[in-house]
Symmetry: C2
Subunit: 388 residues, 2 copies
Amino acid sequence: MLGNFVYCNPTKLYFGKEALEGLRKELPKYGKNVLLIYGGGSIKKNGIYDAVVKILKECGKEVAEDAGVMPNPTSEKVNDGVQRARACKADLLLAVGGGSVIDYAKAVSVSVHCKEDPWTKFYLNMEEPEGEIVPVGAVLTMVGTGSEMNGGSVITNHDQKLKIGHVFGEEVFPKFACLNPEFTFTLPQYQMVAGFYDILCHILEQYLSDFDDNTSDYVMEGLMRSLVHSSLIALKDPKNYEARSNIMWTATWALNTFVAMGKTTDWEVHMLGHAVGAYTNATHGMTLSAVSMAYYRHILPYGLAKFARYAVNVWGVNAEGKSEKQVAEEGLARMEDWMRTLGLAMDLKTLGVTPDMIEGIADATYINEGGYKVLNRQEVIEILKESL
Amino acid sequence: MLGNFVYCNPTKLYFGKEALEGLRKELPKYGKNVLLIYGGGSIKKNGIYDAVVKILKECGKEVAEDAGVMPNPTSEKVNDGVQRARACKADLLLAVGGGSVIDYAKAVSVSVHCKEDPWTKFYLNMEEPEGEIVPVGAVLTMVGTGSEMNGGSVITNHDQKLKIGHVFGEEVFPKFACLNPEFTFTLPQYQMVAGFYDILCHILEQYLSDFDDNTSDYVMEGLMRSLVHSSLIALKDPKNYEARSNIMWTATWALNTFVAMGKTTDWEVHMLGHAVGAYTNATHGMTLSAVSMAYYRHILPYGLAKFARYAVNVWGVNAEGKSEKQVAEEGLARMEDWMRTLGLAMDLKTLGVTPDMIEGIADATYINEGGYKVLNRQEVIEILKESL
């Protein structure tokens, strides 16, 4: 049953080959000072940096820079960014990159006018922002996280070996985002397929919870079918605009709050993946793929009917003459085939996890309560060992 | 292929049994004067009027009223509403009702501060509002039109025998809407099933256009499957909260612009239905159902592959060993069975159309160009005659 909820998503999206032109419509709404936030500099090689700076200049902006945002942005880097935003009196934080860069920009946005330690307040203690929030805009260069249209912000603290996500309210959502599928063409294959799995996993985290009859589940089945279909096209032909544009759009809707409305959700694969990420700094999507099959096979008996529905409606399993369990397992087998075809990390060893890390990763794994089975510590360790 | 587009939908939705409490969060954002807009008075019988007025009073509002909005709101009534809104210096137009009441409130909202004739400017000439727009809020009591989360506003001019819809931009969308599925429980069965068909038809108008590989088509298939499933439950048990809440949510997403992004769309069934509505004042959803089967069978040869996909993915037709045409036709046959089961109007005679009206209705039918076949006048007449 659809529970009570409030839905609001005010982010404005400019989508397509001309998406960057949306900047010209949006920039005049903000003051003069823009902090341009980006990652390791790939945007300087593929021309996106130049194109963005050109528009910023033409719109009369003063541009300060905050480069070097790492794939798993750290609390130390957030402190650095806050100083930069204060120094240039930023009226707008323009994040150019993937989920990490946008997640990071949100962390800075709530911290600029906050006197407390951002990591402690917003991540460790999960408090909400009270003061002024510097608006964030985004130019997306990598799909997967959905950060362009939600309030999610995942930050890592290496000293404490913790990677924590805070889902902020709509006042922290990017005000606008430019989504040009062509900007994702130059992404290395490893990052591309990791993003594909991140998308599927986002949907599954919301789909594999409760047995209610819920419109959202039907919508998620459609999104997953589209993703699987387009991912196989993009794998062979990464510059296929149709496939990449469908994947970009699917990624946004997989995690912009819509499909979770009125539902319970799980998110345990992300909890496992975040713990792995805190220990290894591995690519987010790959930390999810490496633990997924062990996790799903572990919880399958508790969510049998839904796993069987998933098998039929997403993976096209023919249920005739088979038990619910057979159907459900066949669905997971087809999913695993697809994952191997994409070339995802299917075990933790590949990501640098060693047996001596297992206890620590288990300690860092937050246990959620929305899934078909609330894990105990022993189960977490079993799943991690099976994933090694 | 997903074309270029801009997506933004800022409407805030309060959904569920406590949805009306959302009013307490929203009302303080607006000035003191509220124009309460509603229809024939059913909200006085079922207690919704009292509940709304109680909250308005408790929030310290001055309430003026604009009652008697008819099922197909007229341009004359819009002029009346504009006078009322001016007289009470309305800071907020609170529409309590279904699509007609909300469509009407939008027409008033753009006209209060406009000196020109609303019908001529916004509907006949399709101009955009330039001046101040009075904000609209909505309490939904009937589902189908999606008006609670879009800019659509359909107004009828009886003198000119025209029913025209203007799709306004996001500045005209309701600022907020309260969606309590229980508020739809007391709706007469005829109105309920007409709403169900309106929802399916909205989706089909966007689905049955282009042959691109498009994520939106997968999402629409999910929405349609959920709708068909829940509609049969609601038909037998109209107070089934789960079914009614799924249908309410599906209706909103069927027409809040999301599924149309990047796609071409058709809307020819609505053009036919609007022309019928201008001649008969029949219930909107029934004008659509009465002409649908003749229209879809007429365009089927031009959109064969999509009709076949529709048959398999929405109606569960087994395609094995059948031609594409057989599959497509079997899908439409199953759709027709579902329509008859719901008790929809399946011909125009039932709605009061007589053979001598056909030419006039054809003249009033606007020809769209996004469908699988751009109709000529002779085809419009054939379809209307087949629907008689």
